[in-house]
Symmetry: C2
């Protein structure tokens, strides 16, 4: 059993109006940054997964996304599992 | 001038207690997922950058992070600029 690090990105679906993103975009334009547009804000979640292999870790995290972390009606998720290195740090 | 897509990840610094992450971790354990731990929750921001080259795009987005998007006292940010492809989609 090893500890994997999982990076999860949860984003609002394209068809859903992102009010928070629109507000941030207006604020950026007020701060004289007109080059930035189409701001969309989502969640970034990092967690440790105790699992025998990478596939099991991926399954566990996707299960958590479906059951708790993401609202599948409005949001999409993507999961990235990082291998633990021998010295205990993640690559 | 091209449109680059920027992915920004904003995370709480390690030394800061992540109350929201701890709450999610407790919820995961209540849902019989004890293999998941050390949950930390941050923000994921996507935006378009209108800039002549990738370096300028990176500078514009980092400037926005410092001025508005991240609270540098408590948060770290990382910026990833994706090149536009010829057909207008991002790679």
């Amino acid at each position: 059993m090893k500890y994997y690090l999982a990076h999860i990105t949860i984003t609002l679906r394209k068809a859903i109006l992102d009010v928070q993103g629109k507000t941030v975009e207006n604020a950026l334009h007020s701060l004289h940054m007109p080059a930035l547009s189409n701001v969309r804000i989502g969640k970034h979640i990092e967690l440790d997964v105790h699992a025998p292999d990478k596939e099991t870790a991926q399954d566990l995290v996707e299960d958590a996304c479906r059951k708790l972390l993401a609202n599948l009606v409005m949001e999409d998720y993507s999961v990235d599992i990082l291998e633990p290195r021998k010295n205990g740090q993640m690559k």
